[in-house]
C-alpha cells in the first residue's frame, strides 16, 4: 500500500506519456491529455507546498525564539504582506501587489542578488583562475578569446576576431556540447525507464 500504489501510479502515468507519442489515437490522446492536466494541477500544489514549508519552518523558529528569529519574522511578515493582498486583489497590472510590492521590492532584490555574482566572478578570476595544466590553458585561452570577441570593440583588436568566436561557438564548442547532450540524453532515457519500471525507487524514501 505504502510503496506498491505509488509505483503503480508512476508506471501508469509514465507509460501513458510514452505511449501517446507512439499511438496518436484520439482515445490515447484524451487519456494522456487528461493525465497531463492532472499533473499540471498537482505540480502547482507542490509549489504552494514549498511556500507553506518555508512558512512552517520559519514560523516555528520565531515561535521558539531561535537564534536569528527576528529575521525569520521578517520573512513571515513579507510572505503575508505579499500573499494576503495578492490573493484578495490579484496580481495583474493595476493591483497594489504588482505595481508596488512586486515591482519595487521583489524585482530589485532578485536582480541585485544575481547581479552581485559579477563581483565574485571577478574575485575568482583574480584569485582562483590558475593556468596550471595545458588543458586549463586551453580553457583560459578560449575564455579570453570569447570575452574579447563578444564586445563591440573586438574587430578593432583584430578584424577576424568576431569570426573566430563565431567559429569557436559553432564548431568546437558545438561538438563538445553535442557530446554532452548525447551522453546526458542516454542517461536520462535510462533513468526515466528505470523509474517507470519501478527499478529506481529512491524517490519513495526509506520505508
Amino acid at each position: 500500500m505504502k510503496r506498491e500504489i505509488p509505483i503503480l501510479i508512476t508506471l501508469v502515468f509514465g507509460v501513458f506519456m510514452i505511449v501517446q507519442f507512439f499511438i496518436p489515437h484520439p482515445a490515447v490522446n484524451d487519456i494522456a491529455n487528461r493525465l497531463q492536466n492532472w499533473a499540471i494541477i498537482v505540480i502547482s500544489f507542490s509549489y504552494v507546498l514549498g511556500s507553506a514549508n518555508i512558512l512552517r519552518i520559519n514560523g516555528e523558529l520565531v515561535y521558539r525564539r531561535a537564534p536569528g528569529w527576528p529575521y525569520k519574522l521578517v520573512l513571515v511578515i513579507a510572505f503575508f504582506t505579499m500573499a494576503t493582498p495578492g490573493l484578495i486583489l490579484g496580481i495583474a497590472e493595476g493591483s497594489w501587489t504588482n505595481d508596488r510590492l512586486f515591482t519595487f521590492t521583489y524585482v530589485p532584490l532578485a536582480s541585485t542578488m544575481y547581479a552581485s555574482l559579477a563581483f565574485y566572478i571577478a574575485s575568482a578570476a583574480f584569485r582562483a583562475f590558475r593556468v596550471r595544466t595545458w588543458q586549463a590553458s586551453v580553457l583560459a585561452i578560449t575564455a579570453l578569446i570569447v570575452m574579447l570577441g563578444r564586445i563591440p570593440v573586438s574587430h578593432f583588436i583584430w578584424q577576424d576576431l568576431p569570426g573566430i568566436v563565431d567559429w569557436i561557438m559553432g564548431v568546437p564548442n558545438a561538438v563538445a556540447q553535442r557530446g554532452i547532450l548525447i551522453g546526458a540524453a542516454l542517461g536520462a532515457i535510462a533513468t526515466g525507464l528505470k523509474v517507470i519500471l519501478g527499478i529506481e525507487r529512491s524517490y519513495l524514501g526509506r520505508e
Binding site: 510514452i18 492532472w38 490573493l87 524585482v107 532584490l109 536582480s111 559579477a118 568546437p172 540524453a185
Partner: protein, 218 residues
C-alpha cells in the same frame, strides 16, 4: 509617491550590495524579506493561473468532475507535514515523477539524441573547404577546413571520453585527450558567456541606481 517607492527599490538594492563589504543585519533583513515575498508571490501566481482556471472553475461549473482526483492528490501533498500520514504524499509525488519520467524518455530521445547524432552524420572531410581556402586564404577559411572533421571524428573523441568501460591508455588515451581538449574549449566558451551574463545584470543595477533612482547619470 513614485519617488518613495523607487527609493524603497534603491534601498533594497543597496542592502543586497552591502554584503560585498561584509555580512550585516541590513543584508539579512533584505535577504529574508526577499524569500518571504517570493514565496508569497508564487502562491498568488499559482492560485490565479492554475488553481482557478484549471481546477476550481471547471470543477464548480460541473464541466469536469474528474478534476476531483488531482484536487485530492494536491491536498494529499500536504500530508508530508505529518509523521503518521506522510506516506500518502508519495501518491501525488508519483504522479509528478511518473509524468516527467515518461516525458523525459521521449523528449531526450527525439529532441536531443536522434537529432544531435543526425546533425553529425556528414562527410568526414569537405574538399570544397580546401579550394575555398586556396582561392581566398584567410584565418576563417583555414578554420573551416576543420569543421567536418571536428563534427564527426571530434564528436567520437568527446563521446569516448565519457566511455569508461575501457581504460584510457595507449593509443586510446590520445582519443580521450582530444575529447577533453574539445570539452575544455566548450567550458572556456561557457566561462566567457557566464561573465557576459553577470556583467549585464550588474550594469542593470547600476543603471537603476544612478540613472533611474539618483538621477546623477544620463
Amino acid at each position: 509617491m513614485e519617488f518613495f517607492w523607487i527609493s524603497i527599490a534603491g534601498l533594497c538594492t543597496v542592502a543586497i550590495l552591502s554584503f560585498l563589504y561584509s555580512d550585516n543585519p541590513l543584508y539579512k533583513v533584505a535577504e529574508h524579506f526577499f524569500v518571504g515575498i517570493a514565496a508569497g508571490y508564487v502562491v498568488c501566481a499559482e492560485f490565479y493561473n492554475v488553481f482557478l482556471p484549471n481546477l476550481w472553475r471547471p470543477l464548480t461549473s460541473g464541466s469536469d468532475y474528474w478534476l476531483i482526483i488531482p484536487l485530492i492528490l494536491g491536498i494529499a501533498l500536504f500530508t508530508r507535514f505529518s509523521d503518521e500520514l506522510g506516506w500518502i504524499s508519495r501518491w501525488p509525488m508519483s504522479v509528478i515523477i511518473g509524468t516527467y519520467s515518461g516525458l523525459a524518455v521521449i523528449g531526450f530521445a527525439s529532441g536531443d539524441m536522434v537529432l544531435q547524432v543526425q546533425a553529425s552524420l556528414i562527410p568526414v572531410f569537405e574538399p570544397a573547404t580546401i579550394s575555398t581556402f586556396s582561392s581566398e586564404p584567410s584565418v576563417l577559411n583555414f578554420l573551416q577546413i576543420f569543421r567536418n572533421p571536428l563534427f564527426t571524428l571530434g564528436l567520437i573523441c568527446v563521446l569516448f571520453y565519457f566511455f569508461f568501460s575501457v581504460e584510457h591508455k595507449g593509443g586510446l588515451r590520445h582519443i580521450a585527450t582530444t575529447g577533453t581538449t574539445l570539452l575544455m574549449i566548450g567550458f572556456g566558451a561557457g566561462y566567457g558567456y557566464t561573465v557576459m551574463t553577470r556583467i549585464a545584470l550588474l550594469f542593470d543595477r547600476f543603471y537603476f541606481l544612478f540613472v533611474e533612482w539618483l538621477k546623477i547619470a544620463a
